[in-house]
């Protein structure tokens, strides 16, 4: 009988907690040891490299072409990512035209193709942002004033690389917006209840509002996975930035940027959680 049932209480599991705590402490000690070793030896390695490794000529030769090399990779990357994205979108669109509204196998493939297209489009945006900065830096435009005033000379490739980079950046952004628009339009065609325009600044909110409980659950689970991945990435990139700071004297700016992202991430998470728990 239900009234007579007793609820068994599971043991608190202090042993397993102790095991995890021990592992945690061991990991912290190990990380500190590795970090300390890297920090200690990095100074010596840096001095040794400066004294013994002579690659100035090779680096100089590479630097002469670095602008063009980076520009070439930039253009090729944008082209390849755009083609992959558009191929997936085109396949999804073609299949959607033949979908009878019932066949689940077909719509599953269409949705998967659109998801891949969206992911590739995000990669296109990030690649565009990264390589725009790299190309501008590699073009040598920042040293132009110094070169002209001191050496009365400047490399003729500076302007073609700089403007080439600007052109590819604008092209990449335009492609990005167009691809986002066509993907969202197709999603809206397949799911008429969906709302929002990619040109609307409140697109994400409107899209979320027009999603139902199962779709929101997917969004929230994916967002939590992204939060965890971002937290771990911040930790790893921070460690790398600190080591590179010792080797290359990059200053505190990279570490400041990483910590700013880390701060925003965790404060936003905690604030939102507190709001949802309705703490006063």
């Amino acid at each position: 009988m239900a009234e007579n049932r007793t609820i068994e209480k599971k043991p608190r599991g202090k042993e397993s907690e102790k095991k995890y705590f021990d592992k945690f402490i061991a990991m912290i000690v190990f990380s500190l040891f590795i970090g300390g070793m890297i920090g200690f030896f990095s100074m010596g390695i840096r001095d040794w490299l400066l004294r013994n490794v002579r690659i100035e000529k090779e680096v100089e030769a590479l630097c002469d072409f670095s602008g063009w090399i980076v520009l070439g990779i930039y253009a090729a990357g944008i082209l390849i990512l755009s083609i992959i994205t558009l191929c997936h979108y085109a396949k999804a669109r073609k299949m959607s035209g033949k979908w009878d509204g019932e066949n689940e196998a077909v719509i599953d493939v269409i949705e998967k193709k659109l998801d891949i297209a969206l992911l590739c489009n995000s990669l296109l945006l990030i690649f565009n942002m990264l390589f725009f900065s790299l190309t501008i830096y590699a073009s040598g435009i920042f040293e132009l004033g110094e070169k002209v005033s001191k050496e009365k000379y400047y490399d003729v490739s500076i302007f073609p690389v700089f403007f080439g980079g600007c052109f590819i950046f604008a092209l990449g952004l335009a492609l990005n917006i167009i691809i986002s628009k066509v993907i969202v339009d197709l999603e809206k065609k397949l799911n008429p209840e969906k709302q929002g325009s990619v040109f609307d600044m409140r697109f994400a909110k409107k899209w979320e509002a027009s999603s139902d409980e199962a779709e929101r659950q997917i969004m929230y689970k994916a967002a939590y996975a992204a939060f965890q991945a971002a937290n771990m990435s911040c930790l790893v990139i921070w460690a790398i930035a600190v080591v590179i700071q010792l080797f290359l004297r990059t200053g505190v700016f990279p570490v400041l940027c990483i910590c700013a992202i880390w701060l925003v991430l965790n404060v936003t998470y905690s604030r939102t959680a507190m709001k949802l728990q309705k703490y006063k």
């Binding site: 068994e8 719509i107 209840e193 409980e213 199962a214 779709e215």
Partner: protein, 73 residues
């Protein structure tokens, strides 16, 4: 899955596709598809809406089976 359902069967009785079923209960086609496949357990509200549209009780469509490991019988 502990939550079994006969939504596909009841949807067939209504002679509607997943999109139309979604419109009837205020959910998306994907959600109906996920429920039918057993990949998603709907909220109480959605389960009640589905039952209302199908003109049956929630228990007619959804049945809960305890996992053997969790069962205390």
């Amino acid at each position: 899955m502990p939550l079994n359902n006969r939504l596909k069967e009841y949807r067939a009785r209504l002679d509607v596709n997943q999109q139309e079923m979604g419109e009837l209960v205020g959910a998306s086609r994907q959600t109906i598809s996920q429920i039918e496949r057993g990949d998603y357990s709907p909220s109480v509200t959605l389960a009640l809406k589905i039952a209302k549209v199908c003109e049956v009780t929630v228990e007619d469509i959804f049945t809960y089976e305890e996992d053997r490991e969790d069962g205390r019988e």
